[in-house]
């Protein structure tokens, strides 16, 4: 049973047990425009909630990617190396960016659910 949470930095995290899969939201990919490069620099490293862990580049600009939770990043989505545009096409599916082993699942309580995030994004 997995649950998806959302951050104010426009990341989503789907959690199954102590493993989270993280990407950027559909709203975020729309704001960025055509994604041309994704680099998760901190694979294998322990990160704290809010740390920047990599970058997503669109034709227009570079934007940092933050981790919505603390933990150890175990994997980056290798499919994005050759097909970064997947982030635009399937931001909340095949365009996932990294997997993380959560060190403090309690942090999830500070994130939003889908309805909460929708209201947040609509208010921007």
């Amino acid at each position: 049973m997995s649950t998806t949470y959302y951050s104010e930095e426009h990341e989503w995290i789907t959690v199954d047990g102590d493993t989270g899969t993280v990407g950027i939201t559909d709203y975020a990919q729309e704001q960025l425009g055509d994604v041309v490069f994704v680099d998760i620099a901190k694979v294998g490293e322990e990160v704290a909630k809010g740390d920047d862990v990599g970058v997503v580049e669109s034709v227009k600009a570079a934007s940092d990617i933050y981790s919505p939770v603390s933990g150890t990043i175990t994997e980056a989505n290798a499919a994005l190396d050759d097909a970064p545009e997947t982030v635009n096409a399937e931001a909340q599916g095949g365009g996932w960016m990294f997997k993380i082993t959560l060190s403090d699942p309690g942090e999830l309580d500070g994130l939003m659910d889908a309805d909460g995030y929708k209201k947040f994004a609509d208010s921007l």
């Binding site: 490069f37 680099d39 970058v55 034709v59």
Partner: protein, 366 residues
């Protein structure tokens, strides 16, 4: 600057109606992209035709006795050689040999038609008023549209019969939908195309007539930037500035032969010396080996980490399908093919000095 202070071009309402994302640019509220997005708009311009609103740029008419000779006091271009209907790219220079702006000067027959950058136009107009003894008319009641791409000729010919007869860097007067327009075969994308100066009251009607065609789409500033970068064309304020000379900027071709012999433009001593002896640094194309774009401000270093210079424009080139950039490097490292590193987010990434333009120009030469 608050949103309320931003100026609007005559096409502002059209952009908003088309769903453009508007951003502040040079004091104007301008479309950075439409719903199609930067990449699609870029590729569409290279495949068909893109319509750009460049009404924020400054349009000025200079008139009077020997006006070309007078303007030569401010620029290194050979303007006296311009025949009626011909146009040329040139530069306002300062006493140190730096570039104050780049501009296009057209011999309109009875006058010179000058187009300058939006961000520099107030300064340029003041510069001309202070230094030129001629009539200076700011054409702020005219809009400027660019139609660029392989379909531009057929699209414009349909409403402006005769424009197909213009060749690259020439101008003609045409009646378009009842409006008196100056049409030049020029642009900022590397593609064939036109720039059309028109009375602002007719701008929406003319733009809509062009956009009604299936082979013409509206293009925002985002794709304008990636198109001009692939075409190796400079953006003032990024690739050119008051501390950059025309020789450093690899724009020697814009310095007329007679002007090299006679001088007589601001900074001529510095610029002519660099023409003879070379400049310490040089504008070059840079192609990072990987996929990560090297943006404006990225440091360029040699294999030992010694600084060679920095990127002044960098993005992802949709037609190249890879990152492209321009920047300045020490002249000794400016040969095409030289291996360099670009330092992106603290990491050195391999790159090469590349020939400009990145995509071949598609101009219709006479």
């Amino acid at each position: 600057m608050s949103e309320a202070d931003l100026k609007k071009t005559p096409l502002h309402g059209l952009h908003v109606g088309l769903g453009a994302k508007m951003v502040p640019f040079a004091g104007y509220d301008m479309p950075v992209q439409y719903p199609a997005g930067v990449k699609t708009e870029h590729l569409l311009t290279r495949a068909k035709a893109g319509l750009f609103d460049v009404s924020h740029m400054g349009q000025v008419r200079l008139a009077g006795d020997d006006v070309a000779g007078k303007l030569e006091a401010l620029v290194p271009g050979n303007l006296r050689a311009l025949k009626p209907g011909a146009m040329r790219y040139t530069l306002f220079t300062n006493e140190a040999g730096g570039i104050l702006d780049d501009l296009i000067v057209t011999n309109a027959g009875d006058s010179l038609f000058v187009v300058v950058n939006a961000a520099c136009k107030d300064q340029d107009i003041a510069h001309m008023r202070d230094n030129l003894d001629c009539d200076i008319e700011v054409l702020d009641d005219r809009a400027l549209l660019a139609l660029q791409g392989p379909s531009a000729e057929s699209a414009l010919e349909a409403i402006a019969p005769g424009v197909a007869g213009l060749s690259f860097m020439t101008m003609g007067n045409f009646d378009i939908l009842g409006a008196e327009c100056f049409v030049t075969r020029s642009g900022y994308t590397g593609e064939d195309g036109y720039e059309i100066s028109m009375p602002e009251a007719k701008a929406v009607e003319i733009a809509e007539a062009l956009l009604a065609r299936e082979d013409v789409a509206p293009i925002g500033l985002g794709a304008r930037d990636s198109l001009r970068l692939e075409a190796g064309l400079c953006l003032y304020g990024h690739d050119l500035g008051p501390d950059t000379t025309p020789v450093e900027a690899a724009l020697e071709w814009a310095i007329g032969k007679r002007r090299r012999e006679e001088g007589g433009f601001p900074g001529a001593d510095v610029i002519l010396k660099q023409l003879a002896e070379g400049a310490p640094r040089r504008r070059v194309g840079i192609r990072p080996d990987g996929r990560a774009p090297a943006r404006d401000g990225t440091e360029i270093v040699d294999a030992d980490g010694n600084r060679l210079g920095e990127i002044t424009s960098g993005s992802f080139g949709p037609s190249i399908e890879g990152p492209v950039a321009m920047g300045y490097v020490a002249t000794g490292s400016s040969a095409v093919g030289t291996s360099v590193d670009v330092v992106v987010r603290g990491k050195s990434m391999p790159a090469k000095v590349a020939a400009l333009p990145f995509v071949p120009a598609n101009y219709k030469r006479g």
